[in-house]
């Protein structure tokens, strides 16, 4: 059975909308929360996929941006809820619980940090790049544990969900729609990027950097920009995740999470537009159903992952459409 990819993509999106609506009718708000979780993880993985799937950058430290997004939200919201401004010495920032402001801040700060991490790590390649990104993840992890002002190891709770003009964000379906809307916007932007000269050049630089240089393209600059965009998007997802759970903790920086983001992408198909979305849905579904069956469901996840890597490298999309994933 060979499906055409655009039809598959449309089907996934429709399914993703239909599920929460059905859940609403069946009065099962938890399912909506589950779907929201899938959408947010998908968004984080979409971010990573831009660097990994198109750019070929195996970043084992993308949790850095997820965590930064979460903590930006946590810090801004906690200052708002205690009515004390954030004193940075030379400037005092009022906290805020406005989602648009938080999102923009999360994306901006993640992007900036991605720029500096990229500047330092993109000069390396192969194993060294993987290790450096992993190391940066650990760096932030230990830093956040040691920062007592924002909960340290225990994390930080945000009592109320943040505000979005015109919506009641406490309602599961409304928050879901917000996240889903963001996911669709980012997917749209990614598809534009991918087909534009920038995307074509980045994709080619992944496959044959020598050829790219020989036609006047500098792979390093392309990759840096891709890494920054990628970091910003994953940062946005982090802010949303923290909002969903109303909780931020150092585990958002953990290397296990970085690994899971890569797993999400490969389940769906590396480099494919909807790969991360399908992967995230499958992952959350597995987590929920398998996790309900046994405490040790990670063993099965490991086995599934092993099979995918060894036998079905193109992920689910590869299986259904007959196309291989990107070679990274």
């Amino acid at each position: 059975m060979r499906l055409r990819e655009p039809y598959l993509n449309a089907a996934v999106l429709l399914g993703l909308i239909a599920l929460p609506l059905a859940a609403l009718l069946a009065d099962a708000p938890f399912t909506i929360t589950l779907a929201t979780r899938a959408v947010i993880l998908a968004l984080a993985a979409v971010g990573l996929n831009i660097a990994l799937g198109i750019g070929g950058l195996v970043s084992f430290g993308h949790a850095v941006f997820f965590g930064i997004g979460g903590y930006v939200m946590g810090i801004l919201a906690s200052h708002a809820q205690t009515y004390t401004p954030l004193d940075l010495g030379f400037v005092s920032i009022e906290g805020t619980k406005s989602m648009p402001v938080i999102w923009l801040s999360a994306m901006l700060i993640s992007g900036i940090i991605a720029f500096f991490i990229g500047l330092l790590s993109l000069r390396t390649s192969g194993v060294y790049f993987i290790m450096i990104t992993l190391a940066f993840g650990q760096l932030f992890y230990y830093f956040s544990i040691s920062w007592p002002q924002y909960g340290g190891e225990d994390g930080l709770s945000i009592y109320m969900r943040n505000d979005f003009p015109g919506l009641n964000t406490l309602k599961p379906l409304q928050f879901f729609c917000l996240c889903f809307g963001l996911l669709c916007s980012v997917l749209f932007i990614q598809s534009k990027l991918q087909s534009a000269p920038f995307g074509l050049a980045l994709n080619a630089a992944r496959q044959t950097p020598l050829r790219a240089q020989a036609v006047g393209i500098e792979p390093l600059k392309l990759r840096l920009l891709a890494f920054v965009i990628s970091g910003a998007i994953t940062g946005l997802a982090g802010a949303l995740f923290a909002d969903l759970n109303r909780f931020v903790s150092p585990t958002m920086f953990s290397w296990q999470l970085s690994g899971e983001l890569i797993v999400l992408i490969i389940i769906g198909g590396v480099g494919r537009l909807m790969g991360p979305v399908i992967g995230a849905c499958m992952f959350v579904a597995l987590e929920h159903f398998l996790g309900g069956l046994t405490k040790f469901w990670h063993v099965y996840l490991g086995l599934i992952l092993l099979c995918i890597v060894l036998f079905a490298r193109g992920g689910l999309i590869g299986l259904l459409t007959g196309k291989d994933g990107a070679k990274v």
């Binding site: 000269p197 080619a204 020598l210 790219a212 240089q213 036609v215 006047g216 070679k327």
Partner: protein, 249 residues
């Protein structure tokens, strides 16, 4: 005398105790095909790398149309008008033929930082790509995935990508590599017609092609140019016969 399009001045490169490039000065004049030949290990690839910018010489310089490009990187030199084809095809295997050639156009027109309009819907890029493909007879295969092309077709594609740069000079690294008799003849004919657009610095092992195409031949042995001249002069040169052609007999 006309100014050379490309010139190297006393390029020198050592790897530890090995002198790979020994004060090499070659010129490429407008409208000519200048072949560089030499036995294996003579340092041809090292020379190419220094000309194209992927290797920094210990001393010496390279200039393009009189402008010193020694401090520029590979991509910058390509933007200045230096096009190269690789000995082992460097192509984006997952992409189609058209996508590969459009890449050349993107580099040539500085379109890398365009984020919105699809590359494959941009008339300027498509026109440039398709005309290059038509010239190497690959237009019909434009939607074929590169990995599915035959070896000969990939060599043609290499040339097509170089064409899209509308370069000032071509550096061709063994374009005949792996081509059979038919393919070599076609490629030879094609390169012959190309010299009018931009001169070609041709590194080759295929002696038939070299003697058929080259206006001038330089012989590189152990990193040093031991002779430069027309095909007839080179064939008659004793030092060359001993070092290279003699061994082949």
């Amino acid at each position: 005398m006309a100014q050379p399009v490309l010139a190297t001045h006393k390029l020198q490169k050592s790897f530890g105790a090995l002198l790979a490039t020994d004060r090499v000065s070659v010129t490429l004049m407008p409208g000519e095909i200048h072949a560089v030949i030499g036995p294996n290990g003579a340092g041809k690839s090292t020379l190419i790398k220094q000309i194209c910018g992927s290797l920094q010489p210990d001393s010496g310089s390279v200039d393009l149309l009189g402008k010193d490009i020694s401090q520029l990187g590979t991509a910058a030199r390509a933007r200045q008008g230096l096009a190269r084809s690789f000995q082992i095809s460097e192509l984006a295997m997952e992409d189609t033929v058209l996508q590969n050639v459009v890449l050349g156009g993107i580099g040539a027109t500085r379109a890398t930082w365009r984020f919105w309009r699809p590359a494959l819907h941009t008339q300027a890029l498509i026109a440039r790509a398709e005309s290059a493909l038509a010239r190497v007879n690959l237009l019909e295969q434009k939607d074929t995935i590169c990995a599915k092309l035959s070896h000969g077709q990939r060599r043609q594609l290499e040339i097509a990508v170089a064409l899209t740069l509308a370069p000032k000079a071509f550096i061709m690294d063994e374009p005949m590599a792996g081509l059979g008799g038919e393919g070599s003849k076609t490629m030879t004919k094609f390169l012959d017609g190309l010299r009018g657009e931009a001169p070609i610095l041709l590194v080759e092992h295929d002696m038939d092609a070299v003697f058929a195409l080259a206006d001038r031949i330089s012989v590189l042995v152990y990193g040093k140019i031991i002779a430069t001249g027309s095909a007839r002069e080179i064939r008659a040169n004793r030092a060359v016969r001993e070092a290279y052609l003699g061994e082949a007999e």
